[in-house]
């Protein structure tokens, strides 16, 4: 399906949980890139805006057999069972969040959002955040704000955009150079670029030459479910068809990616 303006993309990530050290650089990289505001008390995590959030998982065993694994969680950019049937997109009354079928990115248009927060209730990943206050940058910190991302105001929802402005900038450059396709490295999110452990891989899941495709091996017949047995997606059984894939060599970590009733057998992992 080759079109004049390029093939349909499905941008996504594979995050290697064996490599992730939980350092939090991705979280700050995201804040610095996207003009994310902050407040004096950020300890109530329901109010703290972190497009990228790193969760800590434990294996539940006693000292000294306890293990820790960190799990970074950006917006999962769900596709749903058909294009655009993301949990959040399907409930937004204002079309403030939309599924872009050309890139697979779930957008958030702040000026359309009137703050009903249906999308937050619908998102099973808690990836969406509400601006309860107007942002304030103390001292002269307004000077570091990037013109590529608009600061949000009180009353709107915000979330990870896969650094969509970086896609726009890369496309602008490519088009000026007479190209319609981007190289894999031309468009990378801020967190991917920043991760000092190299745990995040970003690219086009539809493109067999991209590393994300090779690592996740998404199965197009089963809504992108990973064929790589060490790769999983969060809450797979909700059929949200997310575009963030996680790699872990540890069985207990992979099982932590979904909800199980007690004693449910392992074979049910892929239903």
């Amino acid at each position: 399906m080759k079109q004049a303006h390029g093939k349909t993309k499905k941008f996504g990530m594979v995050i290697d949980l064996d490599k992730c050290t939980g350092c939090g650089t991705c979280m700050v990289a995201c804040m610095a890139e996207n003009n994310v505001p902050f407040r004096k008390d950020e300890t109530d995590k329901r109010l703290s805006i972190t497009w990228m959030q790193v969760y800590k998982l434990t294996n539940g065993k006693s000292y000294p057999d306890a293990e820790i694994c960190y799990l970074p969680r950006p917006c999962q950019h769900c596709e749903g069972h058909h294009s655009g049937h993301s949990p959040c997109v399907s409930v937004c009354p204002a079309t403030a969040t939309d599924y872009d079928s050309e890139t697979g990115i779930v957008s958030q248009i702040y000026t359309r959002c009137f703050g009903c927060r249906y999308c937050m209730a619908a998102c099973p990943y808690h990836a969406r955040y509400f601006n309860w206050w107007d942002p304030v940058w103390p001292g002269d910190m307004e000077k570091y704000l990037s013109p590529n991302v608009s600061p949000r105001m009180r009353g709107v929802v915000e979330k990870c955009s896969f650094c969509f402005h970086r896609y726009q900038l890369a496309m602008e450059k490519a088009i000026l150079e007479g190209r319609h396709e981007l190289e894999e490295q031309e468009y990378q999110t801020s967190c991917t670029q920043a991760c000092p452990a190299g745990a995040i891989t970003f690219g086009d899941l539809n493109n067999p030459e991209h590393k994300v495709h090779q690592l996740a091996q998404p199965d197009p017949h089963h809504h992108g479910r990973p064929k790589n047995p060490k790769v999983f997606r969060l809450l797979e059984r909700l059929h949200t068809n997310p575009k963030i894939y996680y790699f872990s060599s540890k069985e207990w970590v992979r099982r932590a990616g979904d909800n199980y009733v007690k004693d449910e057998s392992k074979s049910d992992h892929h239903e």
């Binding site: 490599k19 050290t21 939980g22 350092c23 939090g24 650089t25 979280m27 700050v28 804040m31 610095a32 003009n35 902050f38 004096k40 008390d41 950020e42 300890t43 109530d44 995590k45 972190t50 800590k56 434990t58 065993k61 006693s62 000292y63 000294p64 306890a66 293990e67 820790i68 694994c69 960190y70 204002a94 702040y110 000026t111 359309r112 959002c113 009137f114 107007d134 942002p135 940058w137 103390p138 001292g139 002269d140 910190m141 307004e142 000077k143 570091y144 704000l145 990037s146 013109p147 608009s150 600061p151 105001m153 009180r154 009353g155 709107v156 670029q193 920043a194 000092p196 452990a197 190299g198």
Partner: protein
């Protein structure tokens, strides 16, 4: 027309239905977002031309290269510099948040003179001229009175031209009291001076080692050059490298290592000698090295065999005897084994013997100046200034002994002992310095037993701070002469912590100074100018930049272009030419170490009946250590199991919790022989029963509202324990008790 009840209702219902079917509600919802969002106070960032500037990060001793994205003249983001030898394009959480320091509310924007009482936070803005005059006048008077040794100076590094200028100033002024830091890095350098006679820095070749044995070092918690460590961990599977973490807590480092061996806190050095026992007993040691290039092996062997038997070491460390012997075998038979020391991120030096034990372990298997081993790097000698002329006042002043006792007698290998410095004049009034200059150091926060440091500072009549930020120590100053931040100034940043090649990074201004600040280098030269005579003659430069260019000489051009100078062709000397001890060999027991180094683990302060638990501080990469504090972005990453509102959580094992009837989230009072703090309980299976783990980097009282007043500074609860062999602070924890609050 008569409006009856029926037609009134019909009109109402019809009107409502009509409105609902019209576009009006949709128009109103759309408009409501417009009306409620267009506020003039939500900033619209100014657009401009994108550009990039490169520099070196100075927020920790790591020395990473950074690329700063700019919009016109405005830095908007810091990223890692591609191809930089230290960090290879990577960056850490602190460096990433660096712009919040540049523009933040805690900046000192102009010279300040204290108007209220000390620490009250009342300041008057004064001109640079007035500030410099005041300092020069005080310095002149003290010198004229013949007590130049009454001037003290404290910094947080002893490397590079800025500490060298300060030291030179102190020398020509006539005071020996230039006090640098005492960190694990300094402990390693001290141990190498004692054992190898090499005066320089210590590198750990983590990229080439195939077995890394970390004795409590938080390789992923901020140790050394953090980005380099992250990369070494991340790539280790490609290199088939195994990493074993020895730690009493399941730190991030322990969690991501191939194996975690839990150990009683503070006994890491004992375990190292326990491993040495097996390696010697089974003759697994490198005989070429030991027989030909080392000295003191026999007495070392005797000591280890007598005092560090497997049963005894197992009992002290809590590591089972079979695991000790297995580990010893694994270490001795690896191709390129490497043992690493420095607890946590290495902010405290620890006992010299702990560092020496780990170096001895490396030496036993020949991992000294070999690929994948420990490298002793000569000081990157580039500061060759002519010896200054000293006038009689300076000569006499320099003859006085240092207040901290470092560098002489018992502590001949040690450079600086900041803890001892403050303790010394706590007891003897005659020792109190009259003027203290503090540059980039924040002893009131970073040194153990902050109350004692506060009491000591209270006695100093005149304190001058050069801090760019209103930190804890700056708050106690009488005068603040603010330096530019690292993003606004030139400065050489030599020898990144733990790096394996001679290296000098260069910080270059990526933005013009934002406030009325001055480069510390220029301030030193200006002060020297006011003091005249031999003092200004020692500074033959018009300004700091001229001094830096002159000092770096032919390296300058390349450094301006690349951002660093590295000795690409460096190779360590062979074993027969490497050691400059009296014997020309590696001294297992150290040369001129006054007391027997192999006395075993340092005990925690306090008695076990009153204080049944042990408090251990832990470092986390999400909480900045050292003299600076967390910027707001990093505060957002601190988990709700570490800090909630103003309460810090201490980690205890559920077993400990049951014993003291504590639950998750219970408010509690944590008491140690040094003080008490209000905490909350977090239950963790990652901590040994009987221990209480508290994060470092919280409990600030200065900087800004985004950081201050949250949690407890663990240094308020832990006191220093003096190491007999070095004078270093050997404390790794303290005895404690917990009670429901």
């Amino acid at each position: 027309m008569k409006i009856d009840r029926r037609s009134f209702l019909a009109f109402g219902v019809g009107g409502a239905a009509g409105t609902a079917l019209s576009p009006l509600p949709w128009k109103l919802t759309d408009d409501s977002s417009i009306w409620s969002q267009r506020w003039p106070w939500v900033p619209i960032p100014v657009d401009g031309k994108i550009g990039y500037a490169q520099s070196t990060c100075m927020l920790c001793p790591g020395g990473c290269g950074i690329t700063v994205r700019k919009i016109d003249d405005r830095p908007v983001k810091i990223e890692g510099q591609e191809g930089h030898p230290v960090n290879q394009g990577g960056i850490c959480i602190l460096g990433m948040a660096g712009l919040q320091f540049l523009y933040g509310p805690s900046r000192v924007k102009t010279p300040l003179k204290r108007t209220g009482k000390r620490g009250q936070g009342q300041w008057a803005q004064i001109s640079w001229e007035a500030a410099l005059n005041e300092v020069a006048e005080k310095l002149g008077t003290l010198r004229a009175d013949g007590r130049p040794q009454g001037l003290a100076c404290m910094t947080d590094t002893e490397r590079g031209t800025i500490p060298a200028l300060l030291k030179r100033f102190m020398t020509v002024y006539g005071s020996p009291n230039f006090i640098g830091p005492a960190s694990a890095q300094d402990a390693q350098e001290t141990a190498v001076r004692a054992m190898a006679g090499v005066d320089g820095t210590v590198g750990f070749d983590v990229e080439k080692a195939d077995l890394i044995l970390s004795f409590g070092s938080g390789l992923l918690d901020g140790w050394g050059s953090p980005v380099r460590m992250f990369q070494a961990y991340s790539n280790r599977q490609d290199r088939k490298t195994q990493i074993v973490q020895i730690d009493s807590r399941l730190s991030n480092t322990a969690a991501k290592s191939d194996r975690w061996i839990s150990i009683n806190p503070g006994t890491e050095g004992t375990l190292a000698l326990g491993l040495a026992y097996h390696i010697i007993a089974k003759s697994f040691y490198n005989k070429v090295f030991v027989d030909n290039f080392s000295a003191g092996f026999d007495s070392f062997k005797q000591k280890v065999m007598a005092d560090f038997s497997p049963a005894k070491v197992a009992e002290i460390t809590g590591v089972p005897a079979d695991i000790i012997s297995e580990l010893a075998l694994q270490f001795a038979t690896a191709h390129r084994p490497l043992a690493i020391c420095g607890r946590g991120r290495g902010s405290a030096p620890g006992a010299l013997s702990d560092t020496m034990a780990v170096l001895a372990l490396n030496a036993l298997v020949g991992s000294i100046n070999s690929d994948g081993g420990v490298r002793f790097l000569p000081d990157p000698g580039y500061i060759f200034w002519p010896d200054p002329d000293l006038d009689p006042i300076a000569l006499k002043g320099n003859e006085q002994s240092r207040l901290d006792g470092a560098g002489t007698g018992q502590f001949s290998h040690t450079r600086s002992l900041p803890n001892r410095f403050f303790e010394q004049f706590g007891s003897d009034q005659r020792n109190v310095p009259e003027i203290m200059l503090i540059a980039d150091a924040n002893p009131l926060y970073t040194l153990r037993d902050t109350k004692a440091v506060q009491a000591a500072l209270d006695q100093i009549p005149f304190i001058v701070s050069f801090s760019s930020f209103m930190d804890e120590t700056a708050q106690q100053a009488d005068l603040i002469l603010p330096n530019h931040t690292f993003l606004e100034r030139y400065q050489d940043v030599p020898a990144p912590a733990g790096f394996t090649r001679p290296f000098i990074g260069l910080a270059r201004p990526v933005v013009a100074p934002q406030y009325n600040t001055r480069h510390l280098g220029d301030v030193i030269i200006a002060l020297a100018g006011q003091l005249k005579g031999t003092i200004i003659r020692a500074f033959g430069w018009d300004n700091y930049l001229a001094c830096l260019k002159d000092t770096l000489d032919e390296r300058w051009e390349g450094m301006i272009e690349k951002g660093f100078w590295m000795d690409d062709h460096f190779s360590s000397p062979s074993w027969d030419a490497m050691f400059t001890t009296g014997t020309g060999r590696f001294e297992f027991n150290g040369e001129k170490v006054a007391s027997d180094p192999w006395t075993g683990a340092v005990a925690a302060e306090g008695d076990s009946s009153t204080f049944p638990l042990i408090l251990v501080p832990y470092d986390s990469i999400r909480l900045a250590g050292g003299s600076i504090g967390n910027p707001p972005f990093m505060m957002k990453t601190v988990a709700a199991t570490v800090l909630v509102k103003a309460d810090v959580f201490v980690e205890i094992n559920p077993e400990t919790a049951r014993k003291y009837q504590l639950n998750e989230g219970t408010p509690a009072m944590l008491t140690t022989p040094k003080g008490e703090g209000k905490v909350r309980i977090h239950l963790s299976e990652g901590i040994m029963p009987g221990l209480v783990a508290m994060p470092t980097g919280l409990g600030h009282t200065a900087f800004d509202d985004f950081l201050a007043g949250k949690g407890v500074n663990v240094n308020e609860l832990v006191g220093p324990v003096e190491d007999a062999a070095s004078g270093f602070d050997a404390a790794w924890g303290i005895r404690a008790k917990l009670a429901k609050a």
